[in-house]
Structure formats: structure tokens, C-alpha cells
Symmetry: C2
Subunit: 139 residues, 2 copies
């Protein structure tokens, strides 16, 4: 049986504190979760249509995710209509864009420094940075 969907305030993967960001990353970090939301951006889709768009996604995971995302209020469905995003789920898309941009930059850096093992080319290796005094702290 699949366990309960991550909720802010309760213990989640990544930390027992239940900080909202942790809960979000727990939810979204699960396999295919984000991909499902992504596919739904284009419009409502049925379960099998979703599965078709997400190559290799198995249906058990699909339904686990659908249930979790529904409990989280990111998707919903009317009666037996196809699944669709809620306004909350749609807002998530915008919130992910900076992370997406960062990830692209990250990807560029990793791939430009010739891929082989890990050790970046001499002179271009990751430099430490002066710590910017983060404002909030995790609790």
C-alpha cells in the first residue's frame, strides 16, 4: 500500500521538520511527479494518455503519483473526466522556472567541462564562494 502523500508540517523525506519546501521537494522529487504535472500543462489528460506520454512510466507509479498529487491539491478530476491541474498546480509551473533556468546553467557547466569522470579541467574547477549570509534558517 502506498503511504500518505507528503504534506507540509508532517515529516517528509529529506527532513523531519516538514518545512514546506522540504515537503514540496519530497512530493515533486518522486519519480514522474513533475513530469505528470508538466504533461498536464498542455491540458487535461486521462490516465492512459498520461502514461503514453511518459515513456516507461509504470501504471502503479502513475496512480501513486496521481493520488499523491490529488491529495496535495495540485491536480483534480471531475467525476470520471480526465485529470487536470488545479490553480495551485498551475502556479507551481511558474515557481519552477528559476530552478529550471538554474538547472540549464548547471547542465551547461557540467557538459562544457569535458564530461569524462568528474575532475573538472584545471583552472576551471569549482571555486568556493564567499558565504552570502543566508537570511532565513531552517529551524
Amino acid at each position: 500500500m502506498a503511504s500518505a502523500a507528503p504534506r507540509p508540517g508532517a515529516a517528509v523525506r529529506g527532513s523531519a521538520t516538514g518545512r514546506p519546501l522540504m515537503a514540496a521537494l519530497d512530493l515533486l522529487g518522486r519519480r514522474w511527479a513533475l513530469r505528470i504535472l508538466w504533461e498536464l500543462r498542455h491540458g487535461p489528460l486521462g490516465a492512459r494518455a498520461l502514461q503514453a506520454r511518459c515513456d516507461r512510466m509504470s501504471s502503479s507509479v502513475l496512480y501513486d503519483r496521481l493520488r499523491e498529487l490529488t491529495e496535495a491539491g495540485l491536480i483534480c478530476r471531475d467525476d470520471n473526466e480526465p485529470y487536470q491541474l488545479t490553480d495551485l498546480g498551475a502556479g507551481l509551473g511558474a515557481a519552477l522556472e528559476p530552478l529550471d533556468a538554474w538547472a540549464r546553467n548547471w547542465s551547461d557547466r557540467l557538459t562544457s567541462e569535458h564530461s569524462p569522470k568528474r575532475r573538472p579541467a584545471p583552472g576551471s574547477r569549482p571555486r568556493p564562494v564567499a558565504v552570502p549570509r543566508g537570511p532565513g534558517e531552517p529551524r
Copy 2:
């Protein structure tokens, strides 16, 4: 033995496409990964100090994450100095803020609609939203 750290371009958890965002979520969605980065925002920390700040994190996972984050170029260490963020890792903090803000809003909504099971109070249930025609597509 721990497997290789997720890299953009290679298959990762969440999708076989290796889209940068997916790889990022794979990496960051792993238990304690983000927490470690978060703790390092305050300044360099040694392994045991990190473990102390992250209650209940077991050392085996800690070192798995440290290795992964290092391979990903988000953290580094000079010789046997404490671990610290790279500029790339520090930039991630900023990229996460919108997501953090979204997560707080999400948290507020979930907790305000009296927690019980899932069905939100009548009249406040998640409404579907007109699909905003997302620009990019997954691939």
C-alpha cells in the same frame, strides 16, 4: 555501493530524458540533499557538524550525499578543510526561493482548509484552471 550522482543528459529518477530540471530534482529530491546545502549556506561545515545539525541523518547517507553533491559541483572542499558551497551551489539557493514561496502558499492552503482527510471544504475545493498554453515541451 552508492550509484553515480544524477547528471543532466543522463537518465535520472523521474524521467529517462535527462532534462536538466529532472536531473536537478533527482539530485535535490534525495533525502537530506537539500538540507545539507541549506545548512552550508551559513558557512563551511565539517562532516560531523553537518550530521549534528541534521537530526537523525545517518552517516552513510551523509557521505552518499556529500559525494553526489561534490560530483555535481555544488559543494567542494580544499584538502581536508570543511565542506562548503561552490558558486554554483550558492546560486541554487536563489533559484529555490520562488519554489519556497510557492510551498509556503501551498502549505497555508492545505492547513487552512481544516486538515482531516482531503476533501476540501465545500466552496473552496480546488478548481480546475484554464490551461495556460505552456511554452516548452518536455522531450
